[in-house]
């Protein structure tokens, strides 16, 4: 026994040494960490695997990665850019449409296509747009962007003028900015000459022109789109209109774009390949980024202090600002606390207790900017509250509560001392002794959000407003709009660590703050707000959006919160054309090039 162990030890030591030598030896002959091979004309990008390819989005398939994926292969008819000269924020160069003209009565939109072709050489024609329109019209309930009365319900007629020109006649005269920005943005040419069939080996026909057969075509395409594993092998997806073709789509979720040689748009790709590497977790993505294993990734919110390290590793670090707003929802439908939130003075007091400027600067390391109303400030604008309806003013907030019948107990819980609906009283539905104590469901996993909530909790406490913060992963408990008649017990909710809501180019609130809006989480309802939202859709007054913004900024359907960037991007400094990143969160690798 005494002799065996040393031998054993020697063997183990020798084995370990051999293993280390083997590793070291391998390291010399083998490659450096993955991604080091990405050089020359190729760029690797960290991205969640897309799960949808058909340019008619299904509910639940509208994630950003799907939009980026689809737009590379099947771009919409119109592209948009904020802050340009164009009246409707159209990106004329990138758009597939040559022009859009609105008739004097505001009812007819005449759209002319550019002279472009599919990857198989066939021309892109109005028939391809009609194909998309017919399929959506016949299957609107299954289309993610459908809301009753919206597109395509609001289309009286789709008429083909010639191969390159068609008209859409609307049922009412809409505000052109809204219609072009928020309705026509979905129009996407699809290859009718390849897709208009009902089975893999079926004949191509005009099936989309009859509702019944259009449903079958749609079903066929949906079934094909529901199989990401076949994206690279299914011939359906070989025919594309965008700057890119699908190079690979592995079952592991990696995919790549290679240039579509037939593409004739003005934004021609210069890279030979863009490889999108799948990551489902921030940490693993960041480890690879830090090792130089990907060309374009992002710094997770909890690792922002690593920015200098990333920059030293040859990356440019740039916040990706979004066309977004961030807010804390108040549940007006809660039977207990809803009547409190109905009191405008209370909402005003709470808003005055949120120091957005300091939070943006200190807590978010200047990667957030105040939100002052429902229409976003210019992306990337300075983080000031200049022009906001409410400034941070704790004293004014306390005064407001006291002036409305509340016994303010700093660092305690304020109570209603003077109930009633008269001047200086607590207001309708508020009883004597009612307390200002709320539960706030907030998002876990974001250090800055936790710190922000602690700051707000502390400020609210000064006015005797007790906030009980419950941090939960948004995957577990995303706050829902209350369904009529259902129990609805949440008080306040925040899920905006990367922005609460991202808009299409026209930032109207019909999906957010209208009484019947699908994402009106807190069931806010205000007659004047509804009128102003309606005006943004129908009025020819260019100031309609401004009026709507000013009213809701002041009326507070929600509490406006610092608006964080979508993400902090890091890309190798030799890649040009990434910056500025699109505030509507599209990605255009055809603009990128390497030095």
């Amino acid at each position: 026994m005494m002799t065996s162990t040393p031998r054993l030890t020697h063997r183990i030591a020798a084995g370990a040494a051999a293993l280390m030598l083997a590793l070291a030896g391998c390291s010399e002959t083998s490659s450096a960490p993955e991604g080091a091979a990405a050089e020359g004309e190729s760029v690797s990008v960290a991205m969640t695997t897309p799960t949808w390819i058909l340019p008619i989005s299904q509910p639940g398939k509208t994630q950003g990665e799907n939009a980026i994926f689809i737009s590379g292969l099947y771009p919409s008819l119109f592209s948009y850019e904020l802050g340009g000269e164009d009246e409707f924020n159209l990106d004329r160069e990138r758009s597939m449409a040559e022009s859009v003209e609105v008739s004097e009565d505001g009812l007819t939109y005449t759209i002319t296509l550019k002279d472009l072709q599919w990857s198989d050489g066939e021309p892109i024609t109005t028939r391809d747009v009609e194909f998309w329109f017919n399929l959506v019209a016949a299957n609107k309930e299954d289309w993610a962007s459908y809301t009753e009365g919206g597109f395509p319900d609001n289309v009286e007629a789709f008429e083909t003028i010639d191969e390159k020109t068609f008209t859409l006649t609307t049922t009412e005269a809409y505000a052109p900015g809204w219609y072009i920005g928020n309705q026509l943005n979905a129009l996407t040419p699809m290859p009718q000459h390849v897709w208009d069939k009902t089975s893999d080996d079926g004949e191509i026909g005009d099936f989309d022109r009859e509702a019944e057969s259009a449903k079958k075509v749609f079903e066929y395409l949906i079934t094909a789109a529901e199989d990401p594993a076949s994206y690279a092998s299914n011939p359906l997806w070989d025919t594309v209109s965008g700057a890119w073709e699908l190079g690979e789509f592995t079952p592991g979720g990696q995919f790549s774009f290679v240039p579509n040689d037939a593409y004739e748009g003005e934004d021609q790709p210069t890279l030979s390949e863009v490889v999108f590497k799948p990551f489902t977790d921030d940490n693993s993505q960041f480890n690879v980024l830090r090792s130089g294993g990907i060309d374009y990734g992002y710094i997770p919110p909890g690792a922002l202090d690593q920015k200098p390290v990333i920059e030293q590793a040859g990356y440019t670090v740039e916040p990706w600002h979004g066309w977004s707003i961030t807010y804390m929802a108040l549940n007006f439908a809660n039977p207990e606390t809803g009547p409190l939130f109905e009191q405008k003075y209370l909402r005003q007091a709470m808003q005055q207790l949120i120091d957005q400027e300091s939070i943006s600067e200190v807590v978010w390391n200047e990667t957030a900017a105040p939100t002052c109303g429902p229409v976003p400030q210019e992306p990337g604008s300075a983080g000031t509250m200049e022009g906001c309806a409410y400034q941070f003013d704790p004293e004014a907030a306390i005064q407001l509560l006291e002036d409305n019948g509340w016994n303010v107990v700093p660092d305690g819980v304020s109570t209603c001392a003077d109930p009633g609906t008269g001047e200086g009283q607590c207001g309708e539905g508020v009883e004597e002794g009612d307390e200002l104590s709320f539960t706030l469901v907030s998002q876990s996993g974001f250090t800055a959000t936790s710190r922000m909530m602690a700051e707000i909790q502390s400020q609210f406490a000064q006015a005797g407003i007790e906030l009980n913060i419950q941090e939960v992963p948004d995957s577990v408990a995303v706050t829902q709009a209350c369904e009529p008649g259902a129990e609805c017990t949440w008080d306040m909710s925040f899920f905006g660590s990367q922005g609460s809501w991202y808009y299409p180019v026209y930032a109207s609130g019909e999906r957010l703050f209208a009484s019947d809006a699908p994402v009106n989480l807190g069931s806010y309802s205000d007659e004047r707000a509804d009128e102003l939202i309606k005006a943004t859709k129908f009025s020819s007054d260019p100031a309609a959006l401004e009026k709507y913004n000013d009213y809701l900024a002041e009326d507070l359907p929600v509490l406006w919160m610092p608006n964080p960037v979508n993400r902090v991007s890091a890309f190798k400094s030799d890649i040009k054309g990434i910056s500025p990143q699109d505030p509507m969160l599209y990605m255009y690798p055809q603009d990128w090039s390497r030095d």
Binding site: M1, L23, S30, T62, D227, G253, F279, S291, S475
Partner: protein, 340 residues
């Protein structure tokens, strides 16, 4: 991870009495296994069923209309009473239908078939590496009990055991991918096992991380069982017969000490199925663990249900197989009441 240094948790109890027939023992343990699996599926189903928001909102997104949600619930049978849904789920489960992942757009069974081999590969490699190192180390400790090598290995093992997987993984990445960049920080992304193996360098850090955690448990386990065995009469007899020390240790003490490792390996089966979630997440290894992690983030109920059920079955099955193997190896286990 698995197995603390507590043999009673994995080693079937041995009681005095008359040995029951093997078939009876197996039958009884199988019965227990079925009950446990049904209970686990029921509880999982109940918990997921009661998550706020429900499956429809998760599947269709925040912007879905009430009509779309209603249609989805109707189509998926979510309007049915809870018990009906559960029974339907069980009946589909029995027929092998694990549902359809609405986030990944694939049948869950297909996803599992794609990912399970990768997790099995990762876990088996980690277990093998851990065993290869742990057995001699444990033996060394037992033979050098109370001496420097014993203390040294104990310290290292305890340190490894106490270090969270996440931390040790990060440490390895910092060391071998960033400070001395000789290994990739990302696990192989290939589709099949062959692809994964062809990118074997990518496997070193995840396998190493997982092995470190299990190595500590195995070492402690081998050490304590070997110490027990070294005190047995047959060892004294072997020594008295004049057998060389190495032969006594390796042929007699070590071999008998490996029996309990059978149960330890049995308990390792659930790890094979569930994947070392942390390791897969840290190294972006596309196995069961990463899929489960992704499903929790997106509330992909069919995947969560299926994975939990499979892990439950694997756990019960692993325990069952370990007990049976142990009972075969050591008939004392089958004494009346044996097993549990």
């Amino acid at each position: 991870m698995i197995g603390r240094d507590d043999r009673s948790s994995t080693r079937p109890a041995i009681r005095k009495g008359r040995a029951q027939p093997m078939w009876q023992y197996v039958l009884r343990r199988c019965g227990q296994a079925v009950v446990v699996v049904i209970l686990v599926t029921f509880l999982t189903f109940l918990l997921l069923h009661n998550l706020p928001g429900g499956a429809a909102r998760s599947a269709l997104g925040l912007g879905a209309t009430q009509a779309q949600i209603a249609a989805y619930n109707e189509q998926m049978g979510y309007n049915e009473p809870f018990i009906t849904q559960y029974v339907l789920y069980l009946s589909r489960l029995v027929s092998g239908d694990l549902g359809f992942s609405f986030q990944m757009n694939q049948p869950v069974a297909e996803l599992i078939v794609q990912r399970l081999p990768k997790t099995v590969l990762l876990s088996v490699l980690a277990a093998a590496v851990a065993l290869v190192i742990a057995v001699p180390l444990g033996a060394l400790q037992a033979t050098r009990r109370g001496k420097l090598p014993d203390y040294l290995v104990t310290w290292v093992a305890l340190l490894a055991y106490a270090t969270p997987l996440f931390f040790s993984g990060m440490l390895l990445i910092v060391l071998f991918s960033q400070t001395i960049p000789i290994l990739p920080p990302q696990a192989p992304q290939g589709f099949g096992v062959r692809d994964i193996l062809s990118d074997w360098q990518g496997l070193i850090l995840p396998v190493g991380t997982l092995a470190i955690a299990t190595l500590a448990a195995y070492t402690r386990y081998v050490r304590s069982t070997m110490i027990d065995n070294l005190q047995e009469n047959y060892i004294r007899t072997a020594r008295a017969k004049g057998l060389p020390g190495s032969r006594v240790v390796i042929r007699h003490a070590l071999r008998n000490s490996l029996f309990p490792v059978i149960s330890l390996l049995g308990m390792y089966i659930p790890v094979l199925f569930s994947g070392a979630l942390v390791v897969e997440q840290l190294f972006n290894y596309p196995g069961m663990g990463l899929m489960f992690w992704q499903a929790t983030q997106t509330r992909d109920f069919p995947i969560l249900l299926a994975t939990t059920t499979i892990v439950a079955i694997a756990t019960v099955l692993g325990s069952l197989l370990a007990d049976i193997a142990y009972a075969v190896a050591d008939p004392r286990v089958r004494l009346s009441g044996g097993g549990e």
